[in-house]
Structures are given as structure tokens and as C-alpha cells.
């Protein structure tokens, strides 16, 4: 960076600091940091200011390790990235004002302006990119985790399998349910599959449609579906919606479903004497 800029920044460090702190205090609400104690907020501000200044001295055009670590730490404890980006932007605004005050020629001011822009923008960009990457990573990991939890088909007895469904069913999961159901039915040679919807919070027309389709597909590969775990309020909404679930048997609980599945495969539960 231009020596003059650095000199100017070092000379007016105190001035920049007070103005910057004022500015940060004003934007505190925007970053939802009201719950943080004044002292912690001030200390963090001080640290950020310190880091920004080390940046100037080192004259690098990308976030230093310290900056990245600082950002990562803040995000981990629930601060927003916008706090840091705004900190940098406020910093830029203040030093530009100070440059203007310094009575330089127009060309010189413009050159300094340009220099500072080129210095701060890459830092902001890279911080944003990194945090976006982190987020994308988290989301994709969670997606995989969700998929693993999604729709297991559990063989319980010979020829009888259970698929417990838990949570919201979206289009992607519905596809997965169908696939797991059909491959599982063939792999375990199931004759009866119990689909348990106790854990499904809302059964709307789409969910019902997917269940009907799944049951129909199971029928096509030669097995039978029993829908179990229909809570009373779900039963009422299904009736209100006018959805016809008459093509396959339904039961209120998994236990009752299991009993009729055993009957269908010509077995029964008995108590030992």
C-alpha cells in the first residue's frame, strides 16, 4: 500500500478508533448483539480493530490467518458475519473521510481511494466466500445425515417388514421412500409391508398421494401394504380433505397392523401357557 496512506492511518489511529467504535455501537442492534454484555462487545470490537490494523501493516490483500480464525470463532458462538463485514466497511468509510480531510490533491485522493478499495474488497469477499462454503458444507452434511435417517425398511418377521416414517415428507424423501420400499420388499421377500406414519406431523394431499403411489407400487411387485399409525386428528383431516385411502387396509397402531399382517401370512401370536 502507498506509504502515505499507511502514514496517514498510523497518525490518525486514535481518531479513527473513536469514530469507528461509535459507528459500531450504532449498528449493534442490526447484528442482534443486544444480548451481549457491553464489555464483551467492546473487547471484540477492539480485537477486530487491532486485526484490521495488523492487516494494514502487513499489507496483504487477503484475510490473514488471524482474521479467518477470528471470523470462524465469532460465527461459532453465533455472531453474524455481517458484523465483521460491516466493521470493515465502516473502517473504510472513516478512513476515506480522513483522507478527504487531509487536503490532498484530487488525483491523490482518488488514488488512495482506489487503493483502499482494492485492499478491503478482497478481504470482505474472501470472508464471505469462506463462510458460504462452510454453510454449504454443513447443509450438505446434514442432507446426507437426513437421508440416512430417511426411510429404512426393517424386516421384522419372515415376509413381514416395517417402514417407520418420521418427520416431514418432501418430494425428495418421497422418492427415497418409494425406492427403499421396493428394493427392500424384493430383497427381504416381504409379503406384507407396514408403513407407519405415527411420526409424520402433517398428512396433506401430497403426502397421501405419495403413500398411495407407494402402496400401489408395492402391490405391483406382489406384496401388500398396510398403513398404520394413523392418529385420530390425522384421520379427520384425511376425511376432510376427501382423500380415498380405501384401496389398502389401514390400522390405528403398529401392533394392530402387525396382527393382521401375521393373519395375512397365516400365522398368529399366542400366549405360552
Amino acid at each position: 500500500m502507498d506509504k502515505l496512506v499507511i502514514q496517514l492511518l498510523n497518525e490518525s489511529r486514535e481518531r479513527i478508533y473513536t469514530r469507528w467504535m461509535d459507528e459500531m455501537e450504532r449498528v449493534r442492534d442490526e447484528h442482534r448483539l443486544q444480548s451481549i454484555t457491553d464489555r464483551a462487545y467492546e473487547e471484540t470490537n477492539q480485537e477486530l480493530f487491532e486485526i484490521i490494523y495488523t492487516h494494514i501493516e502487513q499489507n496483504v490483500h487477503k484475510p490473514t490467518d488471524r482474521m479467518t480464525e477470528f471470523a470462524e470463532h465469532l460465527m461459532k458462538i453465533g455472531w453474524r458475519l455481517s458484523y465483521i463485514t460491516q466493521g470493515l466497511q465502516n473502517f473504510r468509510r472513516i478512513i476515506l473521510a480522513i483522507i478527504l480531510d487531509a487536503n490532498q490533491s484530487n488525483e491523490k485522493v482518488f488514488a488512495m481511494y482506489d487503493e483502499i478499495d482494492r485492499w478491503i474488497d478482497p478481504i470482505v469477499n474472501q470472508l464471505i466466500n469462506e463462510s458460504a462454503k462452510n454453510w454449504e458444507n454443513t447443509v450438505s452434511i446434514q442432507k446426507v445425515a437426513l437421508q440416512e435417517l430417511s426411510a429404512p425398511l426393517i424386516p421384522v418377521f419372515e415376509n413381514i417388514s416395517v417402514m417407520p416414517l418420521i418427520g416431514t415428507i418432501d418430494t425428495e424423501r418421497a422418492k427415497l421412500i418409494m425406492e427403499n420400499l421396493l428394493t427392500g420388499v424384493i430383497k427381504h421377500r416381504s409379503q406384507v409391508v407396514l408403513i407407519d406414519i405415527t411420526g409424520v406431523p402433517v398428512v396433506d394431499t401430497m403426502v397421501a398421494h405419495h403413500i398411495i403411489q407407494a402402496a400401489e407400487a408395492v402391490r405391483l411387485v406382489g406384496a401388500q401394504c398396510i398403513l398404520v399409525g394413523i392418529r385420530p386428528e390425522i384421520a379427520q383431516t384425511i376425511v376432510n380433505l376427501g382423500i380415498d385411502l380405501g384401496q389398502f387396509p389401514t390400522k390405528s397402531t403398529l401392533f394392530k397392523g402387525m396382527k393382521s399382517a401375521l393373519e395375512l401370512t397365516k400365522r398368529q401370536m399366542i400366549e405360552l401357557e
Binding site: D170, P201, T205, M206, P232, E233, L241, G242
Partner: protein, 133 residues
């Protein structure tokens, strides 16, 4: 006290968000579990219609009062293609997306009041109220 919430619907997870806030508000207003399920299902249908046919829109949920009666109002609005023939979409089994075609007539049965206001190529606003008994 003014209970209300507004959820933008742009993807499938927004549908979940809309109905969760609907369920919370219904609970706060004192609706029973069956009516809570009805309200959430209705929100789910309306939000899904926005997502499927208009791409994006809004679901606003608020508390309403009328002559001492307390209720929950859902307003689903979008600026999508609009509905060509409202009488047709209110028929059971009519669908343009290969679904069950029970969505809108179903919502009407789940709720107490139901109005559609739609202009072709301008958008649709569906308002529906469930009264607390």
C-alpha cells in the same frame, strides 16, 4: 395482542416453516389438536400450491376477531399465472399437476370460511378462516 406471522414461500422447506408457524399460532389461540391438524394441513396445501404453480408467494397467518368470535386467518397470495376456472379447481379430483386434486376443495372443508380471488396472469389470493369454538 396481535398475533401474526408472514412466511415467504420459495422452496419446499418454506412450506414446513409456514405450517410450523401456523401450528404455533393455532396453539396459542387455544385450538384443539384436531383443529391444529386441520389448520396446519390447510396451510400446507395452500403453501404447496404457491410453490407448485406460482413458484413463489407469501403465506400470512393472523388472529382475527368478529363479534366476540376468535379465529385464525390464513392468507396465501402469489403473483403467479392465476386460476383460469375457479369452479373447476373447486371440484374434487381436478388436477393439472398429476396430484390427487383434493387440495383446494379439501382446504374449504377443513376451514370455516374460504374465498378465492384470482386474475389470470396477475395472481391469486386465497383467504381462509377457522373460528375457535
Amino acid at each position: 395482542m396481535n398475533i401474526q406471522s408472514c412466511v415467504e414461500v420459495r422452496n419446499e422447506w418454506d412450506i414446513v416453516k409456514a405450517r410450523q408457524s401456523g401450528r404455533n399460532i393455532a396453539k396459542e389461540l387455544g385450538f384443539g389438536t384436531v383443529d391444529q391438524a386441520r389448520i396446519t394441513t390447510a396451510i400446507s396445501e395452500l403453501a404447496r400450491n404457491i410453490y407448485l404453480y406460482a413458484g413463489s408467494g407469501e403465506v400470512a397467518i393472523e388472529r382475527v376477531e368478529n363479534g366476540g368470535k376468535l379465529g385464525l386467518k390464513i392468507e396465501a397470495s402469489d403473483s403467479g399465472p392465476g386460476i383460469k376456472d375457479i369452479r373447476k379447481v373447486m371440484e374434487d379430483g381436478f388436477t393439472t399437476s398429476g396430484g390427487l386434486g383434493a387440495g383446494l376443495p379439501g382446504v374449504k372443508r377443513l376451514m370455516d370460511e374460504f374465498t378465492i380471488d384470482s386474475k389470470e396472469n396477475e395472481g391469486t389470493i386465497i383467504t381462509s378462516i377457522k373460528w375457535l369454538r
